[in-house]
Point group: C2
Chain length 366, copies 2
């Protein structure tokens, strides 16, 4: 990855917005601009901040615990804060000439930390500028290199899925399966799961974000398996839905409806359409069949260095899709007491349609 190029583009944006310094706290933005891959253990425990002047060299500020990793992963100068970040920022700001506008990521900064930044800004007589999505806007259109990494991430995820799917047995618990999935991901070379694997059977699958339980998945029940992994930072995200044993007629009905909605959504994706129009194309299929209130979440979301990123593919998003965006298409129907079915693929938006990154067809068209 050409991090220097990305930094140059970011710096150009800063100059256009008359920002003298940008502090980048979001782990995905940090990684996008520098290659530094440490994650944060919760937002209150930052593993570092990029200090990016509108001109000149960016630096990575971190603490003692991450110093070696930071030095190893990035070409940027690493500055370690020993007396806290605010105190280091104060001395860095003193050393810079003519800083008038200091920007920070409003969408990845705690309100409590923003108060400390505000006090610092007042002391140093600089204007504090909250920005949102400044770096995210660069990330939303993927380069060919990034699409290739996403393709490999999807492909590895599917390989793991198939190896697990082949070995499923009704007496395995949801947790057993989730563990097997996450183990297999790491053994296969993934950096990490890109989110907590969802394995939900029967009733439990009626919760779109069910946590795996110690219940056996059993036979003849709907099983939702939603899984993804990170490869060089790039996330995959896929859901398959199936039954061990014999699906009943209701399962067939719901599954086929969800698949039809998914195809309608995928069919609608192309550059120039709004995210809401894509959502509507899929949602209409489900609504026309009378299940509208059982599809309570958005149709999809962007995927890249973050597993959930822009653009959201929801009924309320007026954003236009553009070529090079990567989104999931994942309709679902959830019936409390019975279960749910969700199907999810990832697609790359193209000028005249989209490329589905998934190759796996297990239990899609049944």
């Amino acid at each position: 990855m050409d991090y220097q190029l990305r930094l140059n583009i970011a710096q150009k944006k800063l100059r256009r917005r008359k920002i003298d310094i940008l502090l980048v706290a979001s782990p995905e933005n940090r990684r996008y601009l520098s290659g530094y891959s440490a994650v944060d253990h919760g937002i209150a425990e930052s593993s570092g901040i990029l200090f990016i002047p509108a001109r000149g060299q960016a630096r990575l500020l971190t603490d003692f615990r991450y110093q070696l990793q930071a030095e190893c992963e990035t070409d940027l100068e690493v500055v370690v804060y020993r007396k806290g970040l605010i105190s280091l920022l104060e001395s860095l700001l003193s050393a810079e000439k003519d800083v008038q506008r200091l920007a920070f990521e409003s969408h990845y900064t705690l309100h409590s930390f923003s108060l400390k930044l505000a006090a610092l800004a007042e002391k140093r007589k600089v204007t504090l500028v909250p920005v949102t999505a400044l770096i995210e806007k660069l990330r939303v259109i993927k380069s060919q290199e990034e699409i290739e990494l996403l393709r490999r991430s999807v492909s590895l995820n599917e390989r793991v899925f198939r190896s697990i799917h082949r070995s499923l047995m009704p007496e395995m618990t949801e947790l057993d399966i989730a563990l097997a999935v996450e183990s297999a991901m790491l053994q296969a070379g993934a950096e990490a799961p890109s989110f907590l694997t969802i394995v939900a059977a029967g009733d439990n699958s009626a919760s779109p974000h069910a946590a795996p339980t110690r219940q056996a998945v059993g036979s003849n029940r709907s099983i939702t398996l939603d899984m993804g992994l990170k490869l060089k930072g790039y996330c995959s995200d896929m859901t398959r839905n199936f039954v061990i044993g014999e699906p009943d007629s209701r399962y067939f009905e719901i599954h086929r409806l969800v698949r039809k909605a998914q195809k309608a959504g995928i069919g609608a994706v192309r550059a120039g359409i709004t995210a809401a129009q894509v959502d509507r194309a899929a949602r209409k299929i489900i609504a026309d069949a009378g299940y509208s209130k059982h599809f309570g979440h958005a149709l999809g979301h962007g995927v890249g260095l973050a597993v959930h990123e822009e653009p959201r593919v929801s009924a309320r998003s007026r954003k236009q899709l553009k070529a090079g965006m990567v989104v999931t298409i994942e309709p679902g129907i959830y019936l409390p007491g019975w279960g749910g079915v969700r199907l999810e693929n990832m697609v790359v938006v193209g000028d005249d349609g989209c490329e589905v990154l998934n190759r796996d067809e297990t239990w899609l068209d049944i």
Copy 2:
């Protein structure tokens, strides 16, 4: 757990501070007050907020994806937001009489969300009050029931540690071991690891927060294993440091020094002492031996529903320890190019000393 009692105590605090409504966003605070155990997938993806009036019934606000879990886990009324949290808050505020001061958790609210709250507050003509650590202050002193859960969490974690330690071989990679640890935790009945397991050998152990690599741990090298699990929400956190094969004289020197520092730290803990004094007691041992700059992190931290919580046991913390607090004591020495040694136990602060919750003595006094 008596959630209603905890809510009553919180409401009393609200009345004392003339707060009419408190919004609780932190997952640990939510769980402490309601039993609702969902985690957030990043702070930008909340799985719910408690809406706590100074008088009357608290409610849990969440979205469609978590509705069933919320209804199942808590006795509170669950209100689902379909058009976003802000819009639900607006209608809840309209329904409440005489709301003048609306408080939110400054330390677990994004700056960007605080701007939306501010706009809502202006519209509804209420004063927005950022609070920090209001619920955390209730959590910092553990009840007997909580200490018992922490004891069980520590004990289960140690059982897992010993089963893994027995089966270690030099050809295993750091990642193999981390995976084996986390699998064993879940199989043993833990809810989840309480943080990403650290397995670091040789050079890599010189980074206090090393991520496990695909390198074999090898023989005769320092291996740091830092692990913890959640049991009914309560976290354990333990570090053991050892060698497969024969430690060299340097390993003995560093390990014994760290253990001596740990004992000095544990020996200093009692109600009434400041956290900084405890830090100093341990740090002095390491400084006197000439390794001061190789112990770059704090001595410890509180543990409870969060694996890192108040009180921080650092050189700069003037907080007084009180009976019923639970903290880690974890000095370390990190030598770039060689490796590191860290030893960590959890202790309960008592009036005249402390109770060490750990029973495991593997590779402590060598």
